[in-house]
Symmetry: C2
Subunit: 211 residues, 2 copies
DNA sequence: CCAAAAGTGGGTTGTCCAATCCAGTTGGTA
DNA sequence: TACCAACTGGATTGGACAACCCACTTTTGG
């Protein structure tokens, strides 16, 4: 899922070591951009944080924009990874609640800083770089897909009313999550995230009760 | 609500003309920053768009950061203004639905560009400028307050179950709205906004039915 | 072992832009 | 009419930073 295109147009292969270095650069860039935003992160800082020298960044990326795009794909992978098994257990109410608690606890540990690694990054570059915008949208879609799979299983099992659409429900939950993260970031308080997710899960619980 | 502090610390008064010019600068900055983001907006562009010359920007603002903070307050006023009477009619289900339609239609007219003028701006500077972050949070709180007032009226009237908390409900709705706007911006499609708001309003409708 | 890739450690260039300064004019108002 | 804020229209400085280039060494994979 992470873009493998070389900086140079001729698609010469990357050795394992090359892949690793490239990945180190992307990971370092991701962390710095998460902490300080894209605009406030310089290639020099990234170079130093990744522990590579001189022109290595330009060896792997045509320009900063290309790196930003790689970072977005990287964050999509990382975010889904970090949620681990939780995403496989969204087919019960208990699983959904546990996932909610995990997300809230994660924000608490971060001091409510940074917001969503995909959403915040995407929003910053959305109006400047259409390719990056689409990459961020794609990342959120993958996330949405995992939520939908859980709800669809509930739906198929008959735990949700037949008329409810798991697609819509999943999208609504992710939107509440994104908004909750944004407000939690601005207020430095996990309450918006808690209340937003609880509202959606309470709704699902209510729907489940009628099924 | 918009900050009136002069650039110079000695608080000399602004004449009406001065106030107007200052406002023109803020409005021009707000539009440019909404379209292109803070980092991509130069003071020179703002100066030209506002139709003022040379050092006028620095006559009213100590630096770019001060201008950004003024823009955030300005956008808070503007956003609430733009929703006009809708915000006074959030005490019925019909009023809530009409508000939802207005928001969706507004995004459609904008081509789903820019996201929330407060949220997107706040997120961009949140990790760099704590004062701006707090200003954005304050703007969202005002918005949240208007929603809560409507729901509280329903609650007082007995249209919502006594156990439900209008505060929480309002916060959840605003979070869904923010997340919906963000995803709508990234996907260039109003569906996320529609689905997120509908989920929250359906929930309120269900709660109202049990009251 | 050899060719290509990966990597070092600089230097350089050009541009953009925030921020400052100033000498002078206009305009309102007490 | 005197004063001061508002405003003009520049010039300038200083720094940051993306992007590019190069001579050379090390690593690796076939």
């Amino acid at each position: 899922m992470t873009g493998n295109e070389r900086a140079e147009t001729g698609g010469r292969p990357l050795t394992r070591r090359g892949q690793e270095t490239r990945q180190r650069i992307v990971a370092a860039a991701a962390e710095l951009m998460f902490d300080n935003g894209v605009a406030e992160t310089t290639l020099e800082e990234i170079r130093a944080a990744a522990g590579v020298s001189g022109s290595q960044v330009y060896h792997y990326f045509a320009d900063k924009q290309a790196l930003v795009r790689a970072v977005i794909d990287f964050q999509a992978d990382t975010v889904l990874d970090a949620q681990g098994d939780h995403l496989d257990r969204l087919d019960t109410l208990a699983g959904l609640r546990a996932w909610r608690d995990f997300l809230v606890e994660h924000q608490r540990r971060l001091g409510c800083r940074g917001g969503c690694p995909i959403g915040a990054l995407g929003a910053e570059v959305a109006e400047t770089d259409a390719v990056a915008r689409v990459a961020a949208a794609r990342g959120l879609r993958r996330w949405e897909g995992r939520i939908r799979d859980g709800l669809a299983a509930m739906h198929a099992r008959g735990d949700l009313p037949a008329v409810t659409d798991p697609e819509d429900l999943a999208l609504a939950i992710l939107a509440a999550l994104q908004g909750g993260l944004l407000m939690t970031q601005l207020q430095r308080d996990t309450r918006p995230l808690e209340v937003a997710l609880d509202a959606m899960l309470d709704r699902i619980e209510a729907l489940a009760a009628t099924a």
